[in-house]
């Protein structure tokens, strides 16, 4: 079947999508966006977390056809998404990230403009080790701070309870979210 939906602010189309395919598979294998990670395919690890019409979900548990006509934001579009949000977000055509740009995306140390505040904070707090869990955590943490700009530790733990990390022991991840929250308060 054919699937048309919005990915990171741009209309996209995929053909020959199998009806039982997950949104995660479409993003990674058909759109060429490997940012969202595939680890468990059963909703347990959160490394595939994306926003579906704004809501954080496990992309591995959304049937591709359920994303028809909907808006998906992946980690590749997070910096742009955060920028739109901070600047009053006029979502006119031409905004968003093309697939090519998303594929070429690299985090360049020192170039703040390329990173969302939560990405910056993860780097500065040393919250990334192997990095496999990072995309899902970034999407989940960014959504938490969008809802709640000064979360308690309990709020952070709850919001990130669907994201597993095998490396960091989570402390640095909590630090990163606290750092991003503190910086956004300073900025106001």
């Amino acid at each position: 079947m054919r699937l048309t939906f919005t990915v990171n602010g741009r209309k996209q189309q995929a053909d020959d999508v199998w009806e039982g395919e997950s949104l995660l598979y479409v993003l990674r294998e058909r759109m060429g966006l490997p940012g969202s990670k595939n680890a468990c395919e059963q909703g347990e690890c959160g490394s595939c977390t994306v926003r579906l019409d704004g809501v954080p979900v496990c992309a591995c548990l959304v049937a591709a056809g359920q994303a028809q006509d909907r808006e998906v934001v992946t980690v590749e579009g997070l910096a742009d998404f955060a920028r739109q949000r901070d600047h009053g977000g006029c979502a006119a055509e031409g905004h968003g990230i093309s697939l090519d740009d998303a594929k070429r995306w690299r985090s360049k140390p020192g170039e703040n403009a390329q990173l969302s505040p939560i990405q910056r904070a993860f780097i500065d707090a040393g919250a990334v080790q192997c990095g496999f869990c990072t995309p899902g955590l970034l999407v989940a943490a960014d959504e938490l701070l969008e809802r709640n700009s000064s979360p308690s530790d309990e709020d952070i733990r709850e919001a990130l309870s669907g994201n597993l990390c095998r490396c960091t022991g989570y402390e640095k991840i909590l630090d990163a979210v606290r750092l991003a929250a503190a910086r956004s308060e300073e900025a106001v």
Partner: protein
């Protein structure tokens, strides 16, 4: 495989009548796991996400009509006052990502004995609104579960909504698992006090082939509370009564040994949860009574 995408409830019913083997998909948190692991390869998926009314609820005089696809997150945010037991249970489901998609309709459709909504629905009192092109059936939730992961839906039926009694007294839910998040219940227990009818109702999860009520325990407690006049006096429940209630709840279970826990542990844990949740709920009832009397 077909992907059926009805835009309205009528279309969905027509599609299910025409393709009785089509598997409905709501949040997908059960269905997609089965497909990803090749445990299930249905001829067709029937997507319910496009049907707006399934994500809505109506708060009536006595019941809440909860649309089948309302995600757990909405229940926790918006229905805590009307459905406290279900909101507590919903809060223990999976993780934020799972609660953002998973629904009570899906929990009923899957009919796992470990589903967390079931004890809360059994304790509160609920009916499942099952609809087909042939008409509507209202099924008391205790009759809905027919076996391990089986329910009494006909092949052409879909769940439209669940009608849940609004809380008329305190409700509690408790679940045993290895950690706080992302955990399938070793066993679970729900309790609802109904001061209006002076009855207590219960629900047991993960400790029998289907979710069940502990009816003998309910009957014992109902008469013990009545005989001692405790609904009126608001005095504490004598420990011996609470103990007997807990034992009867344990006895109602018919658990198995599995990787999550032994049958003996499940029985034991159910007794502990029954005693504790009764204590919490009764304390809240006494508090409400006291403040009502002072006012």
């Amino acid at each position: 495989m077909d992907f059926l995408r009805p835009a309205s409830w009528e279309e969905a019913l027509a599609a299910k009548a025409e393709h009785p083997t089509a598997v409905p998909i709501a949040g997908g948190t059960d269905v997609m796991v089965e497909i990803n692991f090749d445990h299930r390869r249905p001829d067709a998926l029937l997507d319910l996400n496009r049907i707006g009314e399934l994500r809505e609820w109506e708060v009536g005089e006595e019941t809440v009509r909860l649309g089948a696809c309302v995600p757990y997150t909405r229940i926790i945010e918006s229905l805590r006052a009307e459905l406290p037991g279900l909101a507590l249970a919903a809060h223990t489901v999976g993780s934020p990502q799972i609660r953002n998609r998973g629904s009570v309709g899906g929990n009923l459709g899957a009919a796992s004995p470990a589903g967390d909504s079931h004890p809360a629905l059994l304790a509160a009192g609920a009916e499942v609104e099952a609809v087909s092109v042939r008409g509507t059936r209202m099924i008391p939730v205790e009759e809905f579960y027919t076996g391990v992961k089986r329910n009494c839906l006909e092949p052409d039926e879909l769940i439209r909504a669940v009608h849940i009694k609004k809380a008329d007294g305190p409700q509690q839910f408790s679940k045993v698992g290895t950690r706080n998040a992302m955990v399938i219940a070793v066993c679970a227990f729900g309790i609802a006090l109904h001061p209006g009818t002076r009855t207590v109702r219960t629900g047991i999860g993960s400790a029998a082939p289907t979710p069940i009520r502990a009816t003998a325990a309910e009957e014992f407690l109902n008469s013990a509370l009545a005989e001692a006049g405790l609904w009126d006096s608001g005095q504490i429940i004598p420990p011996a009564v609470a103990r007997q209630f807990a034992e009867l709840v344990s006895g109602a279970a018919n658990p198995i040994d599995d990787v999550r826990g032994s049958a003996a542990y499940r029985r034991h844990a159910l007794g502990v949860m029954a005693r504790r949740t009764l204590g919490w709920a009764w304390e809240e009832y006494r508090g409400n009574e006291r403040s009502a009397r002072c006012a």
